[in-house]
Symmetry: C2
Subunit: 477 residues, 2 copies
């Protein structure tokens, strides 16, 4: 059971995060360095994320499939930037069935190469296009500095891989999926995300253009919460994915890839969590409602538990749990479920039974302010409304936090200062040299060039050149 207390976020955000992940039983360290075990409560959250995304993928015409875990080493070498980007991070199988392998096999770090190879076999004519395939699975990247959910050797994700007949359709798809991620983040996870383009130095190894959704965590750092790439014809040429167009000519296809991973669980934790623990968005919470019965003796108990059973049944369409453990006090249970971020607690005690009410306690507003007493009538509707209110309210809070901590520096020294306490939305000439200087001086990187631009122009805060786009600089996870 253990201690439920966390360090405060102000005191030590990193330690608050690590302890929270462990104490809320979201994940644990695996015996292999840098690997994690996703525990049932964390996995239930991920399953809800999967469900919310998978519905959106299918509604936009995508289908799921499964490609192998093991990739011939030579495949990765076919796209030059791709191998340069991934080669330091590879896990290599050299022995199979007791024999040294002739060609080593890579445990997939991502699947563009093997999927490209299969697409070259499957795609023959324009009638076969577009191909819109997604895969749920895990990948391995040999990261040196790891952190549960945020960066682990193995992580879980989905990777979409599509092929199109034209550059326009390809670009449209990359943007469609980015917007789908944003819609999911905003509406299901209550995380306000910025959509934008990655700078050249931050784009995916092998992409023509990369896009991302960026979220601000509770310590004002940025977290890339999902990415979508227009790969142009790079992989089509590397893997010879050609189709016969309607004029009977061979053309290379245009491909995209896009992914969202268990990192997103980290985004939920660090966007909404408070010093008491997790605050989960109702749409994704594994448990939306916990009922805590309160009584002092057997007579009270039998009265209370009868009402608890009725309320549980009335609310059976929600993800609900009754904590009727005898060995813990109600106070301990409050802390236990607050730590785990259950959006709504319903307390039922003898007084509530007498009055025909229950007490609602909102997780997002701890203490007396978040408490209301609600009659039994139309309880299901009242709970639904309360969950919607919480869903909207934590979104608003996160959005306000991001606005409060997004700055508009007017000089390089202001830029250097503001990226230490939040995001800087700054004019930038687009040159890698200027971006690198900011990174070297401040550790802040160009997070994305937001689609939502102010218009007009201004001087690059590094070199002074008149610039047409603003970029978000920030320290990032």
């Amino acid at each position: 059971m253990g201690d439920l207390k966390l360090p405060s976020r102000k005191e030590n955000f990193a330690e608050w995060y690590n302890q929270l992940v462990l104490k809320a039983e979201l994940a644990d360290y695996a015996p292999v360095r840098g690997c994690m075990v996703v525990r049932p409560y964390g996995w239930a959250l991920w399953e809800n994320i999967q469900g919310a995304l998978d519905r959106r993928f299918k509604a936009t015409g995508h289908v799921n499939a499964a490609f192998p875990l093991l990739i011939p080493k030579s495949f990765l070498e076919k796209e030059k930037e791709h191998i340069e980007g991934f080669s330091p991070e590879l896990a290599v199988v050299t022995i199979g069935g007791g024999q040294q392998l002739e060609e080593p096999l890579i445990v997939r770090p991502t699947s563009e190469t093997i999927i490209g190879y299969m697409y070259s076999k499957w795609i023959k004519s324009y009638r076969d296009l577009p191909v819109l395939i997604n895969q749920w699975g895990s990948v391995v990247r040999w990261e040196l500095r790891t952190k549960l959910f945020l960066r682990t050797l193995e992580f879980y994700w989905q990777e979409g891989h599509t092929a199109h007949a034209t550059a326009e359709e390809c670009e449209e798809e990359a943007l469609r999926m980015l917007n789908l991620y944003a819609d999911f983040a905003i509406n299901d996870a209550s995380i306000p995300v910025l959509t934008g383009r990655k700078s050249n130095s931050e784009k995916f190894a092998g992409a023509v253009r990369s896009y991302s959704i960026e979220a601000m965590m509770g310590d004002t750092r940025a977290l890339q919460a999902g990415t979508s790439h227009d790969l142009g014809q790079n992989f089509a040429k590397a893997f010879d994915i050609q189709y016969l167009d309607n004029k009977n000519e061979q053309q290379y296809v245009w491909t995209t890839s896009w992914g969202l991973s268990t990192r997103f669980v980290g985004a939920i934790i660090m966007t909404h969590g408070d010093d008491q623990g997790l605050v989960l968005p109702p749409k994704l919470a594994p448990i939306q409602i916990v009922i805590i019965p309160i009584y002092k003796n057997d007579a009270e108990k039998s009265q209370v538990m009868a009402v608890v059973a009725k309320v549980e049944n009335d609310l059976r369409n929600f993800r609900i749990k009754v904590d009727s453990r005898e060995e813990f006090t109600p106070g301990y249970k409050f802390n236990h479920w607050e730590l785990r971020g259950v959006p709504l607690r319903i307390e039922i005690g003898p007084k509530d039974v007498e009055k025909g009410t229950v007490a609602f306690a909102r997780r997002d507003i701890p203490g007396r302010d978040g408490k209301t007493f609600v009659p039994h009538e139309q309880l299901e509707m009242q709970v639904a409304e309360m969950l919607q209110t919480i869903q909207a309210s934590i979104y608003e809070r996160a959005l306000n936090f991001r606005w409060t901590n997004t700055f508009d520096p007017q000089s390089y020294s202001e830029l250097s200062e503001t990226v230490q306490k939040g995001w800087a939305l700054s004019w930038w000439c687009g040159r890698s040299e200027c971006e690198s200087k900011v990174k070297e001086d401040t550790k802040a990187t160009a997070r994305c060039i937001p689609f939502d631009q102010p218009g007009g122009s201004g001087p690059c805060l590094v070199c002074g050149e008149q610039s047409k786009e603003k970029v978000i600089f920030g320290r990032a996870y």
Copy 2:
């Protein structure tokens, strides 16, 4: 699109199977020997299998989690029988991030060891028991002779791992999960399966007792379609999984594991398929109904398509597809969807429009006998009934086939003969020597000792010793 014709099952069952898997686009060969790509149609079938099982797991109190892909080599060596069973089949990662690893990592062939390690950290007291965790994922076994879905280097599965306070609860769980598999196989996949105990030589490496569901394929061979193991305290002792009981004494837990894999897709193909292709059980079919519009000119087309749209909308609660491709004839489309095993075809032509009917064509009864003409009224109910009829009818057919091909040999020579054409349900003394002799002489193995026993006793067909149990001998996949 290619040729839709298959070899007949009589002519060459193995080749019928291979071509069917490829032509129905269930799976394809991956560039790494023995690996497969599960294509969208095959994966959609697997997703329906996953859904049907996952619902049952959750209804019986199980939760999902995710354990790492990579396992330290030393873990596998902790349970003696386990390492002996799996060591010839391991894929070994020796290089990570460009460095030779100090301890090689195994790509998991199954997860008893790493899960045992985590359970020893998590389980402290009797209050923590039972632990009922399942994992969906893939595993790698370096198989030499591979076959799509049936035996591949990497395959997809679920593996359940539970820990219990007593031997009785542990055994109960192993049997509960076996019966859950049987319930799924019979009711959702329409596959009659026998439940039973594995012989000692066929049990899982590290188990005390293994149980399986066994199905008879269309060529009369047996296929083990799911297994459940009572592991006793073997893994608890190897990984020191102890709990404090309610008398404050340290005890080793008792564990089970149970799994069902993409092999089950092979079972569906080979149980129900016919010379035209797949015959999928309606409850699991990715597409339950295909509508084929039939017309000769534009006037007919507009009439027909209006009715098609109405019927599609009336049947929107089913998994339905309208094949309105212009470039193919209705006849070609019939073959196309027959190959893919869609349970019910609805044809709508000008005559049907005139009469206010549609034509139902059952996949399980090809040709005129499976055809009925149905009025538009209460179409949804009629379709639901038809799908139920098909679901039941393919089960009955498979069950009859199994009865017809299960024999009761009275002598060793009859046993040797009958296992060449089906299953032999034979008295057996239980000794490995007798089992081995049958295997050497006939290639048939002891599939399982069915729970459903005739009672009484009879002479072992190998050694003549009076025996109390009958066993199924058969050639197996």
